[in-house]
């Protein structure tokens, strides 16, 4: 029997607000901050304390919901999700349940199979929990609690079970990350846990077209995936594993899984005996969250152009390849950089600028571990460099060296070219003299060429370029070489 995977995603994105969701504590990088240094009586759940909603968190949530084409609820309700765990100071998490911030949205993803629309079921606000560290020492085990993360605003984004492959899951995750970064609400750093993606996977038999879909099999969840690669592998692994179990007539257990990065297998974290009962009820400490239409409209107009729309526009407006356009829009700052460069030098083909960014510049940035914010080459300066190349003032090789220097010093292209005397020699007279010298130096090679060994031309060309220290205009060199050889032959 053939099986089809049915996959839904739950994404938890921390919102990069200044302060926590319900108190004035700062939101800090919990991997870099001393434990329990960003904690107050509210987020540590002291008796008598009350939550006060951070409006910025709501605004950030609305940005995402609007970017995902969701319907915004004019009133949404906070609810208490009750369970005991030492990383949950109040014994309940303030979340949203029956009436979330937004629902019914959509996002288009692009895979090797083409475009596909993924439906968003709901988007809701909640608070993050603290972090536990289990320490074992000399057989004595204990647990440390860090509440720096407790109360950090989280946005939960839940899709419909619209994914059929690991590739689709990854495409969605990457596209969502790009959106979050475009909106400036999340750094997208999965390693640090600020973006947590949890797939739930089940299989069902494939039925012939026109028949009612088969019932879904048991659903398993995978948690603690800290890279796109891990996400894709884990999903692919589970699809295969479940298919094998079902083929063998075995049952899939309802479990929560983790991902073993080293072994590339999923491992059981928790067997679910029954559905958890969180005893949700409306949070009496917070009035219903009213979101006025005017506010929504204001946020909507302030949204930046989103990655997918920008991809389409860049492709068409600048005649870029799909591949190059994708590379540029992956980060908003890079796409902005590209368009600033294009604007700075309208006479330079945008395509060339795009190629220089996605090729040479990315190479230098990766090597140095520098991002767009730390880049010393200004967009106009890069455009200036590409202009020198397209005008034939320097050749590609020289331009590469100049860019490396611009990257290190932040100087302009023209400055460097002038200072170093790197300007390309295009003076036909000067080049003619160089060619004459080379032909005089290598009479045998010239004779060999004239007797029909065409390959020797490259050797002679190389010798001329060498004499010119690489600065000669190659087209003129070639033309002059052919001209003088023809003259020798005629003699």
């Amino acid at each position: 029997m053939d099986f089809e995977a049915v996959i839904g995603l739950e994404v938890h994105a921390e919102l990069a607000t200044q302060s926590k969701m319900f108190c004035a504590c700062p939101v800090v990088d919990t991997t870099q901050t001393a434990p329990n240094s960003a904690v107050c009586q509210v987020c540590s759940g002291m008796p008598g304390t009350l939550p006060v909603l951070n409006q910025k968190a709501v605004e950030y949530g609305l940005r995402v919901a609007l970017a995902l084409d969701c319907q915004i609820a004019p009133f949404s309700i906070f609810a208490r999700k009750n369970y005991f765990y030492p990383d949950l100071p109040k014994g309940y998490q303030i979340s949203q349940y029956e009436q979330p911030l937004a629902r019914i949205g959509r996002m288009t993803i692009v895979t090797s199979q083409g475009e596909k629309v993924i439906r968003i079921r709901r988007v809701h606000l909640e608070e993050d929990t603290g972090k536990l560290t289990h320490v074992g020492r000399n057989g004595q085990a204990y647990t440390l609690v860090d509440l720096n993360r407790a109360g950090v605003p989280l946005l939960e984004i839940v899709t419909e079970p619209d994914f059929r492959s690991a590739e689709e899951v990854r495409a969605y995750a990457e596209a969502l990350r790009a959106i979050l970064r475009y909106l400036g609400v999340n750094s997208g750093d999965m390693q640090k846990g600020v973006l947590r993606i949890e797939p739930n996977i089940s299989l069902r038999p494939v039925v012939a077209a026109g028949f009612k879909p088969a019932l879904l099999g048991t659903r398993v969840e995978v948690k603690n995936l800290n890279s796109f690669r891990a996400l894709e592998r884990a999903v692919a692994y589970q699809i295969q594993r479940q298919a094998e179990l079902l083929e063998a007539g075995k049952v899939v257990q309802q479990v929560t899984l983790g991902w073993d990065e080293a072994k590339e297998v999923t491992v059981v974290q928790r067997v679910k005996e029954s559905e958890d009962d969180y005893r949700y009820f409306p949070e009496p400490d917070l009035p219903p969250l009213a979101v006025e239409a005017g506010w929504v409209a204001q946020i909507r107009t302030s949204l930046p152009e989103l990655p997918y729309a920008r991809l389409q526009r860049l492709r068409e407006q600048y005649d870029l390849s799909d591949y190059t356009a994708k590379l540029l829009v992956a980060e908003k700052s890079i796409a902005d950089y590209f368009e600033q460069a294009v604007t700075a030098e309208p006479s330079v083909p945008a395509k060339s600028i795009a190629n220089w960014i996605s090729g040479e510049l990315f190479g230098l940035m990766n090597q140095a571990g520098v991002d767009a914010a730390g880049l010393r080459v200004r967009p106009a300066a890069l455009a200036g460099l590409v202009k020198l190349v397209s005008q034939g003032q320097i050749n590609q090789d020289t331009a590469r060296k100049v860019l490396a220097e611009m990257f290190a010093s932040g100087e302009g292209a023209e400055e460097i070219v002038k200072k170093r005397g790197l300007g390309q020699v295009s003076d036909a007279g000067a080049i003619a003299q160089l060619v004459k010298d080379v032909l005089a130096e290598y009479p045998n090679e010239a004779a060999a060429y004239l007797s029909g060994k065409a390959g020797v031309a490259n050797f002679l060309f190389g010798q001329v370029m060498k004499k010119a220290q690489g600065k000669a205009n190659p087209q003129i060199v070639r033309r002059e070489l052919e001209l003088q050889l023809a003259e020798i032959k005629a003699d």
Binding site: G45, M46, L50, F84, P89, F281, P284, D285, P287
Partner: protein, 499 residues
């Protein structure tokens, strides 16, 4: 001046302090001495802050002389604070072993506002554990005794505060009211106690029991005293999202009349005031002297110019079951934080979960445990709709009862409790009988309307009889005005127990 300083009402004490007749140190010391004398028989307090109180009194006296404290209406006044309200630096146990040793690093907004107005927190008063009870018998630190009869309960859960005021240990005190916990002990102890509108006084720093019902209130000898404390505590607080931005009545100290933003005042007579008497509050088997006392008081109000109408609050009989679903449900979540990990006391164990189980299993009292179980059950999957969901619907009907009644009347007059103070242990083995003590006070909490209890007489055993007035949301001033008028022509509120 040679009177007992502790007999002064709040207003009298303020006058005496302002005129320089007495000092705050004298007043505070007198309170501390009386507390020391009576505590062995009453046990109204869980913690005393004698030293810091005297230090604050000296500072108040300095400010009184220099004029620095001119704008502080409560400068140098000692008050007692129920032990469910946080005061920075003072222990806060909520009457529970699980919070033993907890000293909050912050002060409840209601207390803070009084402190900023010059009041001195002299100590923390006894309460039923987490304010769950009607007699203080559920306090983990021993019960409080009624100053009028030491074999009887003072009511609860703010029994410590009510007893402390009645016994003249302090001129005034703070309590909290979730289902009658200010009004019922006020009635049992013969003092005046206000439960403000829900959302009127900040709950920040109030150890939560039933979050949609809890409100901090004041207890004192007179409506004026309570009005002054209320007007200072009340008002929107940025730390409590459920507080409302509604104009708060202010006190004109010179004339000692309540000048209200809306133009209403405290002065009698009560011409034009429409008082409703709900028939549902008199059909139960209430103590004859309670019903007689209330009806007598209503006719006094009538004599002061009020019109009296019989009204109906038809869903009153459902208040008890609704309350005992909603408040335990909220409590089951509110009390989940007490796990022994971050504060309070802990029973150490090898395994993490055992710390939870043992700490919670042994440090909560029986009544708290019962309500956590009830609430957990009411919220559980499969039961939610039948219990919590249904209770919320009926709560809406109870609210509507009040809204409809307030189309016809300004104030509703009713008994506070079916009986006067009952003997210690009377309901010890019968939680349901104890719950019935709150049957007349619960509706105001469920509807969120204000309620004011004050003494209107005594029964044959010499125990105070109380009456409550309930009003529209944010119309506390109407209740206070009526009670003030009543207290101008009666002296029940000035009677003191012989101790």
């Amino acid at each position: 001046m040679n009177l007992e300083l502790t007999d002064l009402t709040l207003m009298q004490a303020i006058e005496a302090l302002r005129s320089g007749e007495i000092s705050s140190r004298e007043l505070t010391r007198a309170c501390l001495e009386r507390i020391e004398k009576l505590e062995p028989s009453l046990h109204a307090f869980l913690h005393l802050a004698a030293e810091s109180a005297l230090a604050q009194a000296d500072e108040a006296d300095r400010q009184q002389v220099t004029g620095d404290g001119q704008h502080k209406p409560l400068l140098g006044i000692p008050i007692a604070v129920k032990d469910v309200l946080a005061v920075e630096g003072l222990p806060c146990t909520a009457g529970s072993k699980i919070l033993e040793g907890f000293v909050p690093p912050f002060t409840a907004t209601a207390v803070k506002r009084l402190q900023e107005a010059g009041a001195i927190a002299i100590g923390k008063t006894n309460t039923d554990e987490f304010a769950m009870g009607s007699s203080t018998e559920n306090s983990a630190y021993g019960m409080t005794h009624n100053p009028w009869d030491l074999t009887r309960v003072p009511g609860g859960s703010s029994g410590g505060s009510a007893a402390a005021v009645a016994a003249r240990m302090v001129p005034a005190a703070l309590g909290t009211d979730t289902g009658g916990s200010v009004r019922q002990p006020a009635a049992f102890c013969g003092v005046t106690g206000l439960k403000p509108t829900y959302g009127r006084v900040s709950r920040y720093g109030l150890v939560a029991y039933g979050s949609s019902l809890d409100v901090a209130g004041a207890l004192g000898h007179t409506a004026e005293d309570v009005a002054l404390l209320f007007s200072i505590m009340a008002g929107r607080d940025a730390l409590d999202a459920t507080t409302q931005d509604v104009a708060v009545p202010t006190i004109d100290l010179v004339g000692a009349t309540l000048a209200v933003a809306s133009g209403r005042g405290l002065a009698p007579p009560l011409h034009g005031l429409r008082i409703g008497v709900p028939r549902e509050y008199f059909v139960r088997g209430i103590q004859v002297e309670v019903e007689a006392g209330v009806r007598q008081a209503v006719s006094v109000l009538e004599g002061l110019g009020a019109e009296v109408h019989e009204i109906s609050l038809p869903h009153s009989e459902y208040a008890l079951p609704v309350y005992y679903i909603i408040s335990p449900a909220e409590a089951s979540a509110n009390l989940a934080r007490y796990d022994g990990i971050r504060y309070g006391s802990r029973i150490q164990a090898e395994a993490m979960w055992d710390i939870f189980y043992r700490t919670r299993g042994r440090k909560f009292g029986a009544e708290v445990e019962r309500r956590i179980m009830l609430g957990t059950y009411a919220l559980s999957a499969g039961y939610y709709d039948a219990y919590y969901g249904q209770a919320q619907k009926v709560r809406t009907l109870i609210k509507r009862d009040f809204e409809q009644a307030f189309e016809r009347v300004d104030v509703i007059a009713a008994p506070v409790a079916p009986t006067t103070a009952f003997p210690i242990g009377a309901h010890r083995d019968d939680p349901l009988a104890m719950y019935l003590e709150d049957v007349f006070t619960l509706p105001a909490n469920l509807a969120g309307v204000p309620g004011l209890a004050f003494p209107v007489g005594f029964d044959g055993a010499g125990l105070p009889v109380g009456m409550q007035l309930m009003g529209q949301h944010f119309h506390e001033d109407v209740l206070l005005r009526a009670a003030h008028a009543y207290q101008q022509v009666t002296d029940w509120h000035m009677r003191a127990p012989s101790l």
